[in-house]
Amino acid sequence: MDIGAVFENAILQFIGFNACYYAIAAIGLNVQFGYTGLLNFGQAAFMAAGAYGVGQTVSIFGISLWWGVAIGIGYAVFLGLLMGVPTLRLRADYLAIVTIASAEIVRLIVRSVKFRDQFGGTDGLKGFADAYQDVGVRIGLEPAGEYGFWIFTFSGRNLWNLMVGWSLVAIFGVIVWRLMKSPWGRVLKAIREDEDAVRSLGKNVYSYKMQSLVLGGVIGSFAGMMLALGNANVQPDNFSRNLTFFVLTGLVLGGVAKVTGSIIGPMMFWGLYAFLDSLLRELIDKPVRIGDFTLMQSTDVGVVVYMLMGILLVVLMVYRPQGVFGNKKEMAFEGR
């Protein structure tokens, strides 16, 4: 068994592209869930909004790729309003139900045959990211070239993705950190702790919640854009319930209501994921059998690791709901 390779994979995933777009999504989710106490269980829908926004530009509308940013934000705002208007006056559970349902419907719509001409059906969209990749080439990163040192050697294309992605993480991290120090951010935290008290101070709670939901959703849409540009395609089944839940797991792992938590959490999530995945793959080079019954084979590894990640979320919430960096007091809200 090559334990070195296992750690190498874990370290690469810790700073890899997956961790980076998860971190952007988690920063957005943190605004809603961590700071405002809004149960958005449909972050995948916002990510799909961003991804399809940039995907549609060249492939469907035939306009410049950069309009995609505006279109993606537009979709995300629309989704935020659609989910928020009926639910934000009600108790927290309703938002949870509507977001989880909307995310599923968004996925069904973008993969449907009916709307294939708009969203590309189950094949998704591709061939739109050239303009984005050209910028990387223009600053001197050859797509096929190798850059870096030791295990941190990336192709020019990957390095460009990582540079853009982590810059976005830094930008949104700073924006959210500043916002939450502002009076506006304090109102959000106050809403999380006691909505009625905030209302009695004359604040329009509904409006603040809506702003928080939309802001978090827009940040989430940037995660989707990054995913679409980095992979140079959009696949409808990327935006399943698992995506939402794993972003949430990453956030909870890092610690809610902390910008550092929302960035390092997804990195730890992917580091841990890659660690378990490579470790199991190393251990299970031939099917594990008990008698004639096959307990596990190498094709099961992905699924088993996902299962373990689900259990990780449960264990975290029971024993350490504040995650690694969080403050327990900030995870004690009741959401009524």
């Binding site: 106490g37 149960l39 269980f41 659609l82 208007v85 009926p86 639910t87 006056r89 009600l90 927290a92 559970d93 309703y94 949870a96 139900i97 509507v98 989880i100 349902a101 909307s102 599923e104 419907i105 069904l108 719509i109 449907s112 045959v113 009916k114 709670v205 509904y206 319930r241 698992n242 839940f245 794993f246 949430l248 797991t249 909870v252 008990i290 004639d292 019954f293 096959t294 307990l295 596990m296 099961d300 699924v303 088993v304 996902y306 299962m307 990640m309 689900g310 259990i311 990780l312 979320l313 449960v314 975290l316 919430m317 029971v318 709901p321 995870m331 809200f333 009741e334 959401g335 009524r336």
Partner: protein, 445 residues
């Protein structure tokens, strides 16, 4: 009333119980383990599956096997390698000499009357040698016939309603537990869909071992009740006693949902599978609708069970206690109702009903690893429509949502999107009457 428990969990006894829970999970893992044992093919073969995608009941394509179709496999030079006729599962297994390029051809004249290959499924498909992942390469043919064109509009409407009633009864059955758990503890259980899958999959497990489905089904229902019992005894009752917040508990259910779903995917596999009994029934005509005896019996049994549930809630002491706790747990406790016992009973009954719903759904459609998740959203729409937390609301709302989903295709909603109207109702209800049809208005916002 649960105060004394608070201290005990934090000490060593709590740790021990956590260990017991883990051991229990492991035991469950091992017992469930027999799924993927079969189907180890000796040599290379092409497995041709002919499916009818015509009927579809909740946003998922429902594939019914097409029996008695002749398929032929030709090699790269055009010589015939083998020919076979699909069996009662719509499957024809044709052994081939090795992993090479083949052409699979279906004889369209042998398709049953009224069925034709769908436009996306050509009569001839090529198989590349390097596309054999395992020894068996699966080739699918789909029929998407225009059966309904030959039937009148009234018949189509009646048929949709009949299917809708069946789906509605199943949704209602599955969501009673979801709604009552919410009503009594305030918890929105996102893993409830997995309790439905658990029932269906457990029944499949015993069915696959050789037990008739009529024996496997009750076992699955009992197992569902046990699952509900353990979920409360070893999980949520503890969390309540420890003062784990509702939001945290909700996130816990999300984690359980991911874990359980991937467990099913691992042990059951990604393909939809029908139960072994009552698979290939011919529908008989009752008035304007065509229904198989299996579906008819499912409808009747589901209706009877739900009437019993409704009577229990309305008239028995337990039912009254349930409604009291659901209404106001503290007040109920102060009048001498043991609310933690009531909650335990609700978890057991809810788990058993969800499992039963899963078995019925598996009979109606097929068993799949994510069947509960796809029903969960319809359950939410149903219980929100009926009134979150109310038992009768769950029954009425689930029923209405089922009928609406099935009949929405009549109004031109594409079959693949027919669950979308349920989201629309959900949003409309929340805008107009957030407490639902039967819920009591509360101060909101």
């Amino acid at each position: 009333m649960t105060q004394p428990v608070v201290g005990t969990f934090k000490n060593v006894a709590g740790r021990q119980r956590a260990v017991q829970l883990l051991v229990g999970l492991l035991v469950a893992l091992v017992t469930m383990a027999g799924f993927t044992s079969s189907a180890a093919a000796e040599g290379e073969a092409i497995r041709v599956q002919v499916k009818d995608q015509q009927r579809d009941a909740a946003g998922k394509t429902d594939n019914q096997p097409v029996v008695g179709v002749t398929v032929t496999v030709l090699d790269a030079s055009g010589a015939e390698v083998g020919t076979a006729v699909t069996d009662d599962k719509g499957v024809a297994l044709i052994p081939v000499p090795g992993k090479a390029d083949y052409t699979v051809r279906i004889d369209e004249s042998t398709l049953p009357d009224g069925l034709a290959l769908s436009s996306e499924s050509p009569a001839e498909q090529t198989v590349a040698g390097d596309s054999f992942v395992t020894a068996t390469k699966i080739v699918n043919f789909f029929t998407g016939a225009s059966q309904s064109e030959s039937t009148s509009t009234t018949e189509r409407i009646a048929q949709r309603f009949a299917d809708g009633i069946r789906l509605g009864l199943i949704i209602a059955m599955c969501s009673v537990g979801l709604s009552l758990i919410f009503g009594t503890t305030g918890l929105t259980n996102f893993a409830h869909g997995e309790m439905v899958t658990f029932g269906a999959v457990t029944a499949y497990f015993f069915n696959d071992l050789g037990l008739h489905i009529l024996i496997a089904a009750p076992i699955a229902v009992i197992a569902g009740g046990l699952l509900g019992y353990s979920a409360d005894r070893f999980g949520f009752a503890r969390f309540r006693a420890r003062g784990v917040g509702l939001i945290s508990q909700m996130v816990i259910t999300l984690g359980l949902s991911i874990a359980a779903q991937n467990f099913f995917l691992w042990r059951f596999g990604g393909r939809d599978k029908p139960y072994l009994d009552y698979t290939n029934q011919v529908g008989s005509k009752i008035g304007p609708i065509t229904i198989t005896p299996r579906d008819l019996i499912v409808t009747i049994v589901a209706a009877v069970v739900l009437v019993c549930v409704a009577l229990t809630i309305q008239y028995t002491r337990l039912g009254k206690a349930t409604r009291a706790v659901s209404d106001n747990a503290d007040l109920a406790s102060s009048t001498g109702i043991d609310s933690s016992k009531v909650i335990r009973i609700i978890w057991v009954a809810g788990g058993a009903l969800a499992a039963m719903g899963g078995v019925f759904r598996g009979l109606d459609e097929q068993v799949s690893w994510d069947m509960g998740t796809s029903l969960l959203f319809l359950m939410f729409a149903g219980i929100t429509l009926g009134g979150l937390g109310s038992a009768f609301g769950a029954l009425v709302g689930g029923f209405v949502v089922g009928i609406l989903v099935e009949t929405s295709t009549l109004l031109g909603v594409p079959t693949e999107l027919k669950v979308a109207p349920a989201l629309l109702i959900l949003i409309l209800i929340l805008l107009v009457r957030p407490q639902g049809i039967l819920g009591r208005a509360q101060r909101v916002g």
